[in-house]
Symmetry: C2
Subunit: 203 residues, 2 copies
């Protein structure tokens, strides 16, 4: 099979991501979001919010990273961000196996490049990966606000749990971190997000 | 409203593209494709098929272009690629009005930049726009093959009509153009695509 045939096969396999459903409810169509349209939304956010990444961040790399970051869900499915540790560990193994299979559809040099993007996203060490992860955390928060609570209400998620994820946003972009922290405050005030059983949220 | 608030408003508005349905049927989920996941697929194709763009093509610009190219459909809806001329003219006016409204949600400098990307895609003069348009034409062809004819069968589209679109693919990428021409031959051979009433396809 020549390079182009391999690339087209990969692109065809990627089509299946449109059938992988996430927990997030969409305000407009009133259905769950799929991982392909979620990935588009993150890529659009990367381009739109580029100026809030730390200086020198390679936004084209961030965009490529968010475009491929969820492809492993074709095999592994999507796991809710607040799943427990045992589920997370099982999911990580399934995603690694999926990455081995799916990126290997590409010509070897390109397979290595795309796998590198995926590993980088998972490892969260570079400014690009940290910014990409920040967008991946911020997007479902915006969606939950849009539908009046969404998965927060559905799963009884409390403000301190959300603030745990906000730390990942701050880590990728101080400006988006501040914005997300304000969102949590507003969601609590508006009754969309409950305080933990103890009462106050962590500072 | 500060810059970030404007950008987040734009990103929130963009969410509505997930509810805009295209004609293309998806093999996996067995439903029509929406314009947001279509845009993701094109962006992934831009990154994957980059080497088939003419030398010097700015792939980050192609990616940004395909990410925003369908946002106007939030107001204007999607028009089938084989719609008649009168419908196309009406659609163009509706899309321009939509571009005026939607990109203006952004801070002025960014609104101009995004509008520039959209105009460039529509005008098809730069190598980046031509490659982006080639991807936009190739993707539904791949989808139709995947579902055994799809919109070609549904709307009685013939091989010469598809070859008219293949010229746009050749214009953006000779390699993808050859590939698309082979696809049409194969689709005719496999009975997925009919010959025109006259018989043979144009050379």
């Amino acid at each position: 099979m020549d390079r182009l045939d391999q690339q087209i096969r990969f692109v065809g396999e990627a089509d299946l991501l449109k059938g992988v459903l996430r927990q997030t409810m969409l305000a407009g169509p009133g259905r769950r979001e799929n991982s392909a349209e979620h990935s588009w939304h993150l890529a659009l956010m990367a381009v739109t919010l580029a100026e809030h990444a730390p200086p020198g961040t390679d936004i084209a790399r961030v965009t490529a990273m968010v475009l491929v970051h969820d492809l492993v869900e074709i095999d592994a499915g999507d796991l809710f961000v607040y799943a427990d540790e045992e589920q997370q560990t099982r999911q990580e193994a399934a995603e690694r196996a999926a990455a081995d299979r799916i990126f290997a559809l590409l010509p070897p040099d390109q397979a290595a490049g795309f796998r590198g993007l995926w590993d980088e996203f998972e490892e969260r060490r570079t400014p690009e990966a940290r910014f990409a992860r920040a967008l991946d955390r911020l997007q479902p928060m915006l969606a939950n606000l849009e539908v009046g609570g969404g998965t927060w209400k559905e799963h009884g998620i409390t403000a301190d749990q959300v603030l745990g994820k906000v730390r990942l946003i701050e880590d990728g972009s101080p400006a988006l971190g501040r914005f997300a922290r304000d969102l949590v405050d507003r969601a609590v005030r508006d009754g969309l997000l409950a305080l933990p059983p103890g009462g106050a949220t962590a500072p």
